[in-house]
Every structure is written in C-alpha cells, then in structure tokens.
C-alpha cells in the first residue's frame, strides 16, 4: 500500500486531494484494506474509550472538579489512527485534544483522570499550562499555547537522529497552529535536516471561533509542506483506517532516514473549543449536523459490521463494558486525595536553593497551623 506513491516530494495531488479508505457510510472506497482484524477492532475500541472519557471530562469540569477540558468529540480517528503507527520507543508531542493518542500509547483512563483532577497520582504533579503527558509512555506534556510542541518534536527528532536512535517523533496540532511562527520554523528546520518527525495537523475547521478560511488562503494545509520540501498529504481525518495508513507510511519514511511528512487530517470538532466556549455564537447548526453524519465512530462501526467483524450486539456490549469500566474509574479517582501543597516547590531544582527551602518550611508551618484550625486547603 504505497500511499505516498512516487518519491516525488512535490506531489501536488497528494497535498490537494483527500485520501480515504472507507467512505462516510463505512463502505470501502477501493477494495478492502488489508489490515489485521484485531487492529481494526482495536482502532474502534480506542475511539470508543476516547469518546466516553471525553464525555466524563466535560461532566467533571461542569462539576468544578476539572479546571478546563478541550472536548475531543468528532476527532477520535485522527488521534487514534496516527498514533497506532508509532512504536513503543517513539515519542509523542501531543496538543490538548488527543485523548485517543494517549490511550493508544498505553496511558490508562485512570492516569488521564489523575492528571485532569490533579490527584495525588498526577504524573505532572499539578503543573499548570501542561495538559497531558507521561514519561512512562514517551508522551511529552502538551503545552497550552498552540504550536509550541512543533519545534519541540523537531528538536527531539533531530537529537535522536544525531545520536543514532532509530526513533520517530510525532506531533499533533490544529489548523490555527499553522498560522504560528513555530509551525514555519519547525517544518522548515525539519525539512532542511531531514528530521524523523511526523507532523499531524488536525484540521478541525475552527480555531476557537476563527474559521479555516480566515486561517489561510492556501487551498489546503497539506500543500504548505511542499514549500518546506516536506511531503504533504491530505487525508480524511474521520476515517481511522486512512489516517493509520498514511501515518504508517510517514513513520516508515522518517525511520528510514527520508525525513518528515506533513499529514493534514481533515476532521471536525463537534463540541466547543473548550469548556469555556460557546460554539453556537459563531457557527451554524446545519454545519454541525452535516459533520455529525461524517463522525468517525459511526462510520467505523458500520464498516466493521459490514465486514463481519462485529455484530450489533457485540457493539452494544463493547460500549456498555467501557462505559461501566470508565465510570468505575471516575468514581475511584474522585475519591483519591489531592496532591500535597508542597509539590508546587518541587521539580525546579535538583537541590533547592535556600530561599525555596525557606519557603517550603513556611508553607509546611502554615499548613500545620491551618490544619490545627480545621481549615481545609483546596
């Protein structure tokens, strides 16, 4: 399956077209994809898990338990499909809307919730301005400011290349990020030095309230890669098989020393930008309805059923199994104690200087006093 076709980097067709394996109703576009059944079912399961977890994070935010959440609904296929192409030793530089990617890397719902609720087990110890990340799974914490992770991924890829590690980095970012300088610097540098990096643009049509047509005058985002000498390929981001297929190709290219690839995954954010956003103020219901029809889970479910890999009953069971498991996890995590306040002074210096030590002492003393008075800390 040579998706990228010829080695001709400046292949405009790939950057302007739309690669697809199954159509909006889940029918194969050109023959059955030759992927293992288990992989196809895994893709679907990861998307279900991401969808359910996403709903919980929204709910927990509304209960005042999670500070902020960027809903994923509608974009599960791009995150899951692309990340499945990575190997365990590869590194992920996500943005803030890729729950599916975290799950594929091996992060559990519990670990994600620990982070979101900053419990005692939060792998990032409550640090602000970093969404999800986990060292154990080679996931670099996602920064809140958009596009920052692009140069990070390029730098890490280049470092690996210099050190002779056969690893690939993959970074996710939205359409809005392509207007940032970091996107230019990252792609240019990666192109020049053939960094083993895969750029996955989740083009979800809206950068908060800014529509794609106000983001760029270029016909597609994928076409931007060409100017950097980086092959650009546009794929249906709601077709998990198509995303996986192009990502695998891009990862292989990177690993074999041929350099970076820019993947534009055309998708749609069905929910608000974040829990502090009201999309009805800037986009119409019609548009959302149209994209709801194309959403990735419905499509994959239809495909799996038509291919005989899943029955309606098995599908229902799969959903209720994960709904139950994740609710149990939520209840469990809600009961965990919060992080101790001292962590705010950790992880800056290996050996804290005198002033931080003094602050720590004062903090402990204050906490002790407050405890004595029976005042709880938030």
């Amino acid at each position: 399956m040579e998706v990228l076709g010829s080695r001709d980097i400046l292949n405009l067709d790939r950057a302007l077209g739309l690669y697809r394996v199954i159509d909006e109703d889940g029918n194969p576009v050109a023959g059955e994809p030759s992927l293992p059944d288990k992989l196809l079912l895994d893709m679907y399961t990861y998307m279900i898990r991401a969808r359910i977890l996403d709903g919980w994070l929204l709910k927990l935010q509304r209960m005042g338990r999670v500070a902020l959440h960027a809903p994923n609904k509608g974009q599960e296929a791009s995150a899951v499909g692309a990340t499945l192409a990575l190997k365990r030793e590869d590194w992920l530089f996500p943005s803030y809307r890729e729950l599916g990617a975290l799950l594929v890397r091996g992060m559990t719902e519990e670990e994600i919730l620990d982070r979101a609720l900053t419990t005692i087990d939060d792998p990032l110890k409550g640090s602000d301005f970093a969404i999800y990340g986990h060292r154990k799974y080679n996931i670099v914490p996602a920064p809140v400011p958009v596009a920052n992770q692009i140069p990070h991924a390029v730098g890490a890829a280049l470092a690996a290349k210099i050190m002779g590690d056969k690893i690939v980095t993959m970074t996710f970012f939205g359409d809005g990020s392509t207007s940032r300088g970091d996107f230019h610097a990252g792609l240019n540098f990666a192109g020049v030095f053939k960094a083993p990096v895969v750029f996955v643009n989740q083009n979800n049509q809206w950068a908060i309230s800014v529509p794609l047509k106000r983001q760029t005058a270029a016909p597609t985002i994928a076409v931007k890669g060409i100017a950097y000498g980086v092959p650009g390929i546009r794929v249906d981001g709601n077709d998990v098989i198509a995303v996986y297929t192009v990502a695998r190709e891009a990862v292989e290219r990177a690993r074999s020393g041929e350099g970076p690839t820019l993947i534009e995954a055309v998708t749609y954010r069905l929910g608000p930008h974040t829990t502090a956003d009201d999309p009805t103020r800037y986009r119409g219901e019609e548009e959302v309805k149209e994209w709801e029809r194309r959403e990735p889970l419905r499509r994959m479910r239809r495909y799996l059923i038509s291919r005989g890999l899943l029955t309606e009953e098995e599908d229902k069971a799969l959903w209720s199994e994960w709904e139950k498991r994740i609710e149990e996890t939520v209840v469990k995590v809600l009961e965990k104690p919060p992080l101790p306040p001292e962590v705010i002074l950790e992880d800056v210096y290996e050996e804290p200087p005198w002033n931080l030590k003094e602050q720590m002492k004062e903090l402990r003393e204050s906490i002790r006093l407050l405890k004595e008075l029976g005042i709880e800390l938030e």
Binding site: R62, M63, G64, R65, L68, D277, D278, P337
Partner: protein
C-alpha cells in the same frame, strides 16, 4: 438520611457567578450522581451542571432567572448512605478535636451536612485564626455561637466584634429592641422603565466624563412673541408652550455647532457627527421617566414641533409609545423647569454628546438701560461629554442658544420656520 447542599461549582476560567436558566429536576425528584440537574448561563456559555450526589432533591434553593455565585448553595439533596459521607469517614480517620465532641464526619468541601438522621445540630467545629481567638477571649465571646463570614465559615475579627456589640444590646427587653431597631421599609423591585433608567444612568455617569455650563436667558420678549403667535397657533390647532421655542433654538444652534449632535465610537476612536437631529425630550410619567424622540427635528417648523411634543408627551403618559418613538435620539432636552426646579443639572442620555436642561421661568428684577425692570428669566444648563466637546465649544453653543431665544426674530426668521 443525611441532607447535603449542592453548591454552584467553580466552573472555571474566572467565572464568579451564573444565572439559573432552567432546572432539569424538581423538588422530590430522585437523581443519580453525575446526572445533569440544572442549566446555568455564565459569562462564557450555557452549561449543564451534574449532580455530585445520588439521592432525592429536597429543596431547590435558587429559582430560574436567579444569579448565583460560585459556592452558593443551589439545592439540597437527601443522599442515600452510599453517598460522599462515607468517603469522608474513610478519608479522615484524623486526630479527634476538642471542639468536635460528637465525632461527626468532617464535611467535604462541597458538602455541608446540615442535618443527620439523628437530628443532631450542625457542626460543632469552630474555625478561627489565633488572633481572633484571643480577641474572643478578651471580649468574653463564645466562639461556638458566632457565625463566621470568612472563607468556608472562618470567623473573622469583625464577626466577633459584631457579636460582642449585639450581646451588649441584648439585656434590653427584646420586643422593644426590635421596635426601635426596626426601620419601616418597603421593597420596590427595579423593573421596566425604572430599570432601563437605572442602567442607562449608570452607563452615562460611569463612562461619560460630564462637564457643565449654565446660562441665564432673558425670555421676556420671547414670551410676548408667543402671546402674539397664540391666535395663529390655535387656528392651526396647536397649543404653544415654551419648549418648542427652545427646541427650535437648539436645533438652529446645532447647525453652527454640529459636534453638539454627535456621539463617540469608543472602539474606533471616532466622533460620529449626525446630520439629522432627532430630538429627545424627557417626560415625567406615572410609570417613570420616558424620553420620546422627535425625528428630523432640524427640518421641522415651530408649530410642527409643538404638535409633536404634545402628541408624544400624551402617548408617553399613556404608555403608548412605540419602540421607534423612543429610540434614535441624537440630542436631548430636559424641561424639568415645567415642574419647578430653578437650576438642574441633567445627565447625558447615552450615547449623545450633550443634553440641555431648562429651568423654571422666574420673574426677577434686572437692570436694563439703567432702569430696574421685571424680566422673565430662565436658566439653561448644558451637560456635555468632555471627551467630544471642549468647554469653549460647548459654551459658544449655549451662548448662541441664548442669543436666539433673546432675539426671537433670529429664531423664527427663515422659510418654513413657523410651519
């Protein structure tokens, strides 16, 4: 069954309060933990708030339309035993505290048990910092009886002082105290026209830097002109008051001083000069202040202005003004003098640049050509937006209005001015 309060959660990013849009449950309903119970409109979006507990809704503490602050209780739920109370026990096998003789479970942040099955009184714990405890001891105040107003019920210095103060007054017979201390009062909801007035006046007084200039105008001659015009006016079915003359003068002066008839576009930093004068005039009505608008006043003659003033004022009093008749004014006049004030300082009607106030007509002695004469005088006040208008410009405009009123020939000369 323990009853817990559901408080408006901190729903993030600087949200301090929200409006209850719709309750999704009613009193008596059974709810499941995580089930959406209420829709709340915040500054950012309308959101559904899930219930933190499983149980029965005992009471809704806020009505639809109410604005509630983050942390404010919005409902009471009778929880089943498997609720969060159990969690607390597990979480806090803490050292027993002196104030907490009952050994009750510690309340969670968002759950304040207000009663238990056994009907025990609320929380015995006293929350107060050392300085407050010392103060209480000095004043002989029993802290367990003081209601804390600080964060999460912490007792503050002020709470102790207020309690001590109240204690001092206590020995007097309570009935008498109540009578003396009670102020008879009535609460009138701010709504309708009054609410609009309140909002617009706050906007005007907080956003617009007002400056003022006052002139005394001698309208003796104008009054005699009016007397002479009366028969003609009556013939046309018009009752001629002094207000149309003042309108005429203002409109004429605006021709020479167009910035008076303008507004400020703050976002763009531009002054919008209006070519049309839509004249608002304040009418005191039984249901509040109304400001009907005479459209295109700059194209209308004296009689026509008089007709419209009368008609619009009648409609205002009968509350029959259409929306179109109360909006779009570009300059306003307040003729408070018709009720009685000698000198008033009106507030600008936003987004206009100025408003003209007309005081009561007084008869006073004035020296003219070396002789004392009885003259009819009126104070005109111009309140103006000092971001748009300089004091000099505003004063020159007012002086021009004065000249026109003191020389009625200038005022009424010209084609169609009388119509």
């Amino acid at each position: 069954m323990p009853v817990v309060q559901v408080k408006l959660p901190d729903i993030g990013e600087g949200i301090a309060e929200g409006e209850i849009v719709r309750w999704l449950v009613k009193e008596g309903d059974t709810v499941k933990r995580f089930q959406p119970i209420v829709e709340v409109l915040t500054a950012k979006a309308t959101v559904e708030i899930p219930s933190p507990y499983t149980g029965k809704i005992r009471k809704l503490l806020a009505s639809e339309g109410d604005t509630v602050r983050v942390g404010q209780p919005i409902a009471e739920i009778e929880t089943d035993t498997a609720g969060p109370v159990k969690e607390e026990k597990e979480e806090r096998p803490e050292e027993p505290r002196k104030e907490e003789a009952s050994g009750q479970p510690r309340p969670q942040l968002e759950a304040t048990p207000i009663e238990t099955q056994a009907g025990q009184a609320g929380i015995a714990r006293v929350k107060a910092p050392p300085s407050v405890r010392i103060l209480a001891r000095k004043l002989g105040v029993d802290l367990s009886k003081v209601k804390g107003t600080g964060p999460r019920g912490v007792i503050t210095k002020d709470d102790v002082l207020a309690y001590a103060e109240a204690q001092k007054r206590e020995p007097q017979p309570p009935v008498q105290v109540a009578k003396e201390a009670e102020v008879e009062e009535e609460r009138i909801p701010l709504r309708g026209v009054k609410k609009v007035m309140a909002e617009r006046m706050v906007e005007a007084k907080t956003r617009i830097p007002h400056a003022y200039v006052v002139e005394e105008v001698d309208i003796t001659e104008l009054l005699s002109v009016r007397e002479r015009l009366k028969p003609l006016a009556e013939e046309k079915g018009v009752k001629l008051t002094i207000l149309p003359f003042i309108m005429k003068a203002a409109v004429k002066a605006i021709r020479e001083y167009p910035l008076i008839n303008s507004s400020l576009d703050e976002d763009k930093g531009e002054i919008i000069v209006k070519r049309t004068v839509n004249l608002g005039f304040a009418v005191d009505t039984p249901h509040g202040l109304m400001v009907p608008v005479i459209k295109n006043a700059n194209t209308k003659g004296l009689f026509q202005l008089a007709r419209e003033v009368r008609e619009l004022a009648r409609k205002a009093r009968e509350a029959k003004l259409s929306l179109d008749e109360v909006r779009g004014s570009t300059f306003s006049i307040s003729n408070y003098g018709s009720i009685g004030g000698v000198l008033g300082i009106p507030v600008i009607n936003p987004p206009e640049a100025a408003i003209l106030g007309v005081g009561r007509i007084r008869k006073e002695p004035r020296i003219r050509d070396g002789k004392i004469e009885e003259r009819s005088l009126v104070y005109l006040t111009l309140s103006f937006d000092h971001r748009i208008l300089e004091g000099g410009y505003a004063t020159r405009f007012l002086v021009r209005v004065k000249e026109l009123l003191e020389n009625p020939i200038l005022l009424l000369a010209g084609e169609g001015e009388l119509e």
